[in-house]
């Protein structure tokens, strides 16, 4: 369980990224965060694995306040929280298998990982993860030889190999075309259901949010302005979150093409 208690974050330059956030995310939920650019979605999500550090309040992950974590337990925290990025963040010159095995870094000693001494289980886990996102045949391709959608699937496989309890995804489909976007979201949803991994996704497409989310959290100017089940959300809700009327580019579309 993840619990934000009065969490605030002020960046060194004085920008308030988060203001007085109070949110509780339960086991197994699929939560989508929506909001305009600059609303604080990335800041919210990156606080959970401490890529940024909130400056006030407390943030509990499995009952422990992670805000006073230092290197040792920070590593442990990040090992159980997997992350997916907008730009896939693969090592482009390394092959797919090596990229996916990197998901084991947190579980592996420094020397073992540097010498590539992964256990048999780790290797078969990596292979199996690639299989689950249907990209095992690209095992030895260099990452930069893959298309955007394929790279994002590899990065999902990397997170799966990590065996996380939580998955954070920061705009995972923003660089993809509509059919590929739906494919990637479908994989995330499937993993969430099958492995019971709590998943938090930032999106700015409202149709996708409504289609895949169990629960939607709306943010504006660093504050949570909406929080409720996806079934209760209408276009009106989004207009309130965004503070303006809905436009064409707020929709990804293409649901039936995929």
């Amino acid at each position: 369980m993840i619990e934000f208690k009065d969490v605030g974050l002020v960046y060194p330059n004085g920008t308030e990224g988060l203001k007085n956030i109070n949110v509780k995310i339960n086991e197994g939920e699929f939560v989508v965060i929506v909001g305009l650019s600059g609303a604080g979605k990335s800041t919210f999500i990156r606080s959970i694995n401490r890529l940024v550090t909130p400056t006030s309040g407390s943030l509990l992950v499995d009952g422990e306040d992670i805000l006073n974590y230092h290197s040792g337990n920070l590593r442990k925290l990040r090992t159980k929280v997997g992350m997916i990025f907008q730009n896939y963040n693969l090592v482009k010159r390394s092959n797919v298998f090596k990229n996916v095995l990197a998901g084991r870094l947190g579980h592996t000693g420094t020397l073992r990982s540097i010498l590539n001494l992964y256990s048999k289980e780790d290797k078969s886990l990596a292979y199996e993860s690639l299989n689950r996102v249907n990209i095992a045949e690209k095992l030895y391709n260099r990452a930069d030889e893959l298309s955007g959608g394929q790279q994002q699937r590899v990065s999902i496989a990397r997170v799966l190999t990590q065996k996380p309890k939580y998955i954070l995804a920061d705009e995972p489909v923003a660089s993809l075309d509509p059919p590929t976007s739906h494919q990637v979201m479908t994989y995330l949803k499937k993993i969430n259901k099958e492995d019971k991994i709590t998943t938090i996704v930032n999106l700015h497409f409202i149709d996708m949010a409504m289609e895949y989310a169990d629960r939607i959290i709306g943010m504006r100017a660093g504050e949570v302005v909406f929080d409720g089940p996806a079934s209760e959300v209408t276009e009106k809700t989004f207009e309130e979150i965004y503070g303006r009327s809905i436009r064409e580019d707020d929709l990804r579309g293409g649901a039936d093409e995929s």
């Binding site: 694995n49 890529l51 290197s71 590593r75 442990k76 990040r78 090992t79 929280v81 997997g82 992350m83 990025f85 730009n87 963040n89 693969l90 090592v91 482009k92 010159r93 390394s94 090596k98 990197a102 998901g103 870094l105 947190g106 579980h107 592996t108 420094t110 990982s113 540097i114 990065s155 990397r158 997170v159 990590q162």
Partner: protein, 270 residues
């Protein structure tokens, strides 16, 4: 406000602010002035210089030719020594450069005092010319290969660490963030996300520095730091020009061959 904007648009907005334009113009004329001035002064001497040189040319050529090729086997050892000096110095520098380059890359070493310290150290290192290093080490350890290797190592360490830390600073930080987010520690992040990105550049730069070292070690030999340069120096001292010419030809051939090979390798890498 709107009026002002409109008039700006009508006047066609310049690409750079007027102040920048002014500064660039001034700098341009100052540089031009320096060129003109130095050209004027050097030419005064160059005219005599050239005249004299043409006259000397004939004398020099006559003295150096034909080269005495019979000493080839005798100087071969010294040439190999020079190559070995360059190899050892480049290897040691390539190893020592790794921690220094990482510590002086701003994107990896976020602890500022450490970064500033390494940077300053490397800058100091680079201000010492290789010849001065050689003279100092020959003074300390006597004539031979060892002071040459030391001088070359420190000389190439200065260049390599600087160039490689700049390569590190230009890498894509995204994969590093991903490795950190999946629980990797500093060494794992560097090994998995940084090393693959800089390895081709690293190899290429090491080869490049190796080429420089071959040439530099000849010059260092002149001040007593072993290798073929030492032989060349001796032959010149005894006015044995045909022998010296053979040495020069051998150096020329070896430098060309090594440059060719390392160019081919570097092309294949990038």
């Amino acid at each position: 406000m709107t009026n002002e904007n409109q008039s700006l648009v009508q006047k066609s907005v310049p690409l750079y602010p007027a102040k920048t334009k002014m500064q660039v113009t001034i700098i341009f004329f100052v540089v031009l002035g320096i060129y003109a001035f130095s050209m004027f002064w050097t030419q005064k001497e160059m005219v005599n210089g050239f005249g004299g040189a043409l006259g000397n040319m004939y004398v020099v050529i006559e003295k150096f030719f034909p080269p005495n090729l019979s000493i080839l086997p005798a100087i071969w050892n010294a040439m190999m020594q020079t190559i070995q000096m360059a190899i050892i110095a480049t290897t040691v520098a390539a190893i020592l450069t790794v921690p220094l380059a990482v510590l002086s890359a701003q994107n990896i070493t976020t602890f500022k005092p450490l970064y500033v310290l390494t940077r300053t150290f490397l800058n100091l290192l680079r201000t010492i010319p290789d010849l001065v290093l050689a003279v100092i080490f020959v003074g300390l350890f006597g004539v031979g290969v060892f002071p040459g290797i030391l001088a070359l190592t420190i000389f190439s360490l200065g260049i390599l660490a600087k160039l490689i830390s700049e390569t590190i600073e230009s890498v894509d930080m995204n994969p590093l963030e991903a490795m950190r987010a999946s629980g990797g520690n500093v060494f794992q992040v560097i090994w998995y996300a940084l090393v693959p990105q800089v390895l081709p550049q690293f190899t290429s730069l090491v080869l490049y520095v190796f080429e420089i070292n071959i040439r530099a070690s000849v010059v260092l030999g002149l001040v007593g730091a072993g290798g073929i340069g030492l032989v060349l120096n001796q032959q010149l001292k005894f006015y044995n020009y045909p022998n010296a010419m053979t040495v020069i030809l051998v150096i020329f051939a070896v430098v060309l061959i090594i440059e060719y090979i390392s160019n081919k390798i570097r092309e294949a890498l990038i």
